[in-house]
Symmetry: none
Subunit: 154 residues, 2 copies
Amino acid sequence: MFLSSHESGVDAKKRVSIPASFRRALAGEDSVFVWPSLDKNCLEGGGDRLVARFQNAIMRLKPMDQRREALSYAIFGRGRSYKFDDGGRIVMDAELLDFAGITDKALFVGLGDRFQIWAPQDHQPRLSELQNLARDSMDLLDPFDDEPEALHPR
Amino acid sequence: MFLSSHESGVDAKKRVSIPASFRRALAGEDSVFVWPSLDKNCLEGGGDRLVARFQNAIMRLKPMDQRREALSYAIFGRGRSYKFDDGGRIVMDAELLDFAGITDKALFVGLGDRFQIWAPQDHQPRLSELQNLARDSMDLLDPFDDEPEALHPR
DNA sequence: CTTAATTTCCCATGCTATCCCGAAAATGCG
DNA sequence: CGCATTTTCGGGATAGCATGGGAAATTAAG
């Protein structure tokens, strides 16, 4: 599970360290899949599991459904799978970096099943709005059918 | 899996380099199958697996079903299987190149289980529409019945 | 049958990405 | 606070890739 946020440097060869905790979340996989976000100017990333989910969802659409090609292109046509080097870095494409406006710093934001990669200056203005929306959405966090916790566990 | 997009040159002998990552996606196969798209003016390509899928789907149709002959012709009758040379190139037919309007540049677009080959100038105008449709179809990618990820894998 | 044109195969080369090693920085631990 | 481990980051060596050209083999034309 991708947790917390980490800022990583981008060197002259466009190499970026994937935060160690994110690599651990990938549980043994030696690569990570990265694609441009469909609705924000950041990148998104995840592991094999997430890619398989996308693949399944897309395959469920009929071949002539225009949304099938659109999603295939947006995710697979523009995304890339990166293998880590021995230091846990990937070498990113100029196209993806440009899409997100990333130059020398990349901000990794964990979102549970996936993560985002932002140019730090683009993410910072979003913070207060996100926080307000989260506060107003608190009630969505309550369980509906979970059984109450025991007073004294075990 | 065919990922990302690559532009490749077409030389005077009609030789085209298949992107190395696509060749890797073909996992040891020494050839690739290419056919004209059924609904767009581009070519499509894939490996043995995809051809077998088409073959199975077509075989399920009754021999007298006119659609069987139509699909057989459109895919197998007009398509071609190309073997790579030692540099990973194929020599394309004038008919297929003409169909897609390809002259000196060919744009390879990965779509997961297959790829497209476009004349770059024909693909470029499609981008914004594809991207908008993908954004509006995002919700199709959501899992319906996937179990949550473990906090600490392993 | 001879010659010309085309196609196939093979090698050469500049370029880029990948791998490998190690230093610096950060983190955790006693 | 100091040491050990993990993580990040820089640079050089190496291998792989895209592409061009030429010789051999095949096909077509005269």
